[in-house]
Amino acid sequence: MHSWCGEMFLLTVLSASIIAGSLCGISGVLIARLRLSTLVFAIAHAALFGAAIGLFLNIDPLYTAMMLAILSSVIIGPLSDATGVPSDTLAMVMFSTYNALTFIFIFLSPGPTLAAEKVGGILWGSILAVTRTYLAVLVILAYLYALVLALLWNRFQSILFDRRLAEAEGVNTRLYVYLLTILSGVAISVSLKIVGGFLVFSLLYIPAACGFTAENIKRMILLSALIGGTSGSAGVILSFILNLPVGACIVVTATVIFIAVSIYAYIKRKQKTVF
């Protein structure tokens, strides 16, 4: 019975890490193509701040993280338009503010300050935080994410190719970019529990960097999702075996895959040059 429970738990954690890794991988490619890295960096820290609020209020940090990430995705653009401050600069202001507020709320949260379990859960990830409910939320979000991308792919594709031209042709690019930013914010929020606030950004960009070795945009997204998912699952297994923090194991695995993919891409390019 005990072994069966353990296997079920491992299966739940593995499934969650594959889904979260894939969502981050997809988001990473889209964000990088749209040059929204700074914006999403701020949103990632908004999610971290939301998680800290969750700790403070003693409610599940997943939901507060998601709320803050979505709120941040929605307000940065209009705030930038209203104030005339470039969105990148505004994102950095918000990033610093979110960081400061995260520390304050962690400090104010009930129980001993910096208690490893609760703080570790949001800063460097914890597999103990992975529950069946969490997995269900992940599955629903992954389905919604895939559905939005599939339905609106041609619109997104046009924006990813040339945003200004898409706008000139009558696509409300701001609306679609907001939608992508919100989706990325949600992907980040759900990944926080596994990877942690310090490392979630790595899971966005390392798989995306691998994805960029592919030759077309669909393959880029698929490769990035595949590497995100593989890094997630392999990192969880490593974490179990070596008894190390799961977030760090996932990111180290992703980095090893990135090095292997880069070497492969280099050899392939050399061969093309020779022949």
Binding site: E167, A168, N216
Partner: protein, 229 residues
Amino acid sequence: MVLDPAVELRNVTTIYSGENRPAIRNISLEINAGDYVLVTGPNGSGKTTLLETILGILKPVSGIVKVFGHDMVRSPYKARMMCSYLPQDFMKKPDEPFKVREIVAMGLASKRALGRLSRDDWKRVDEVLKLLGIDKLSDRPIGRLSGGQQQKVFLARALSRDPKLLLLDEPFSSLDDDSRRFVADLLYKLNRKGMTIVLVSHAPPKIAGLTMRVRLVDGCIAGVERCSS
């Protein structure tokens, strides 16, 4: 019934953010449906700014811009659906991950609900590629093509939309002599079929069928000449 002009500009001034000097100043211009307009002028005279202000990509600080009766500041999207635009800075990097056929289809997709393309739409994409003689490049990544080939791809994208108003920014800049003649002839035929064309060029080849010439100097209209057909 009085038809709205294709383009109507009234006392339009556009200033780029962070600059004090207007890029175009107090422009008033009316372009009728079916016109074929050539906008000329030296570098920096405001030709591209004029096109992008017409499309509503640049917002004027004063004045009124209307395309087929739609106010381009308040509600630009409906009018843009009827327009196609060939930008001046079209060149893409060699690692661009999009192929020619996909790029041309994007132009049509932006006119369709949710961007969904039918079999007829894809047929239209292939027809336009063939018309411009670039059908053999369909599966090539755009970044690996020459400047002239890339310019034809963007022209194909613009034409695939079958626009009522076609705005072209230096459409001959990367083309060889034969292609220039071919494109000039194609534009003439499209205009004859009723398409309104606004073409910006600082050194245009011989263009047949023009109905209006506009000369810009230092952001202002220096002259408007109605041409007799």
